[in-house]
Symmetry: C2
Subunit: 303 residues, 2 copies
Amino acid sequence: MDLLKQGWFSELNDLWPGMSLSLEVQEVLHKEKSQFQDIMVLQTKSHGKALILDGIIQCTESDEFAYQEMISFLPLCCHPSPKRVLIVGGGDGGVAREVAKHPDVEKIDQVEIDERVIEVSKKYLPSMAVGFSHPKLSLHVEDGFKFMQQHEQAFDVVITDSSDPVGPAVSLFQESYFSLMKRALKPGGIVCSQGGTTWANPEHVAQTLSHCKATFPAAAYGFASVPTYPTGQIGFVIGSLNEETNFKEPVRIFSEEELESMQMRYYNADIHRAAFILPRFAQKILSSETHISDRNNNPGDVA
Amino acid sequence: MDLLKQGWFSELNDLWPGMSLSLEVQEVLHKEKSQFQDIMVLQTKSHGKALILDGIIQCTESDEFAYQEMISFLPLCCHPSPKRVLIVGGGDGGVAREVAKHPDVEKIDQVEIDERVIEVSKKYLPSMAVGFSHPKLSLHVEDGFKFMQQHEQAFDVVITDSSDPVGPAVSLFQESYFSLMKRALKPGGIVCSQGGTTWANPEHVAQTLSHCKATFPAAAYGFASVPTYPTGQIGFVIGSLNEETNFKEPVRIFSEEELESMQMRYYNADIHRAAFILPRFAQKILSSETHISDRNNNPGDVA
C-alpha cells in the first residue's frame, strides 16, 4: 500500500484496521526523521498541504479549521473567563491561532516536544504556524507531561492537541496525565483533549473518557466532522473542575458579527451544542463504564 | 489505483477528486455487469460485506444503519401521519427495513430500476434485504422517474435512496423530478432525497437544495456520519408541502423503549435535531442561492 511512488499517499494504521484514506500527491515538499517521529509535508492535489507524522495525517489545509476551531472553542466557551490557556502539543500552530482569537485570553503557554514539527510548519504551513507569532503566546519546546508536573493552579483551560495514542503521545491518554492537568488548573478550570472516534476506536474513547470522569466532577465527549481524519470525524474529551459545567450549553456565545470577524468557518453556539449529541450506539458505548475490554471491535463489526 | 489484486478496494471518482477511501478485501463475493451498472459485493476485512455500484461504495454492513435510519426517520418523524410511503431506489432493501419499523406506516411502495441489485442483495446482504420480505411492501422493478409520472396524490412520504448523480441516478437530482414528487404527494406530504455532502460537493448540494426550495414551500438540508462514504458523511435534502413544517423539530418522538424495540442504532429525536445544525461554511454555501457555478471547489480548496 505504499503508493507514494504512484502519486498517492495512503494512511494505514492498526488503530483503524481494514480502511485507509488516500490523498493524491503533487509533490513531497519535505521528509525527515526527527528525534521523535517521521515528519512529512505533502502538496496534495485537492486538499492543500498536508502534515503527516509517523504516517498519520495530522492536518490538511482543506479542513484543519474544523478541528482547530472545535478543540479550542468547545473548552474556551464553557469557561466564564478563560484568561490563562495552556496548549500541549499542537506543533503546527493551528490551535494557538484559534485560542488567540478569544478576547478574554490574556496569555497562552504552549508546550510541544518536537521542535522540528514547529520549524517545518513555519516553513510550509504558514496559515497555521501564524499562531506562533501571536504576542499572547509563550512557546516551550519540551515534554508536555513533564511541563505539567512543574505547574500548579496556573491555567484556566488546558488543551491537549496530541497525535493518536501511538508514538510520543501515548502518555497523554493516561489517567496520570489527567491528574496532572487537574493539578495544573485554577479553580473552575477546564481541560479538552483530542479523544479519537467512536466509529473506529470506541474502546479508546471510552477509556479516555473514563480517565476524565475519574478525575473531574464533570466530563463529556463531543465530536466534529473532519473529512481527512479516519472515519471522517474526530472527538474531544472535555472535563471541568466545576461540577455544574454543562458542556452542551456554552457560557460565552459569540454573535454572528463576532464570529465573522474572528474568521470562524466551523464553530458557532449551535454547532457547540450539537457536538455533544451522539448517535445511539455511541451513547451506549460511552454511558456504560464497564467491560471496556469487551469493546475492542468496530461498532458495526459483523465479522 | 486498482488495488483489488493487492487485497484492497479503492473508491475513485471525479465527484471527490484527489481523495480515495480503500477497504481491505478478504474476498470478492460477486461481480457482474447488469443492464444498468457494474455490481460488486466484497467481503471486507473489518467492515462486513460491502455493495459497490459502478465503483462507488453504496453501503457496508458496518455503518449502513446510520444512513438507512436517517434517510427514513428524518422525513417520517416530520410527518404527523405517514401511512403511505414510496421508496425510489434503495435496491439493497435497507430503507424498506427501516420504513417498515414506523408504526404508522401502512403500505410501502418501492420502485428500483435494477432487479439485479435486488437479487444480489437478497443473496449477500440479507440483513438489509430483509426489508423486501416485509408484508407492508410492494416492490416494483422499473424506472423511478417513470413510476412517479403515473402517480398523483398517492403518498405521504417519498424517500429517494439513489446513488450519486452519475450513471442511472442523474435524473433523480433534477428539478423536474422534484416537481413529479410534489405531484405524487398527498396534501402535507414530505420528500427526502440523498443529497451529497457540503465538504466534497457543495455545488451539488446547493443545486439539489435549490430545486427542492423552488418546488416545496419548506425545504432543508441535514446530514449524518457514515464513515465509508466520501468525507465520512452523507446529506439529505428534505422538502414539505406544508409550509409550517419545521424539519429540526420532529412531530413524532419515540421513547427510548420504542427506539430500543425498533433496534435503532443511530436515530433519536436529539440526533434528528442535530442533523440540521451545519458548520458555518456549509450554512453560508446553502443560504446563498446565487452563483452556484462559482462554488465548484472544495470548501477548503486552497490550490
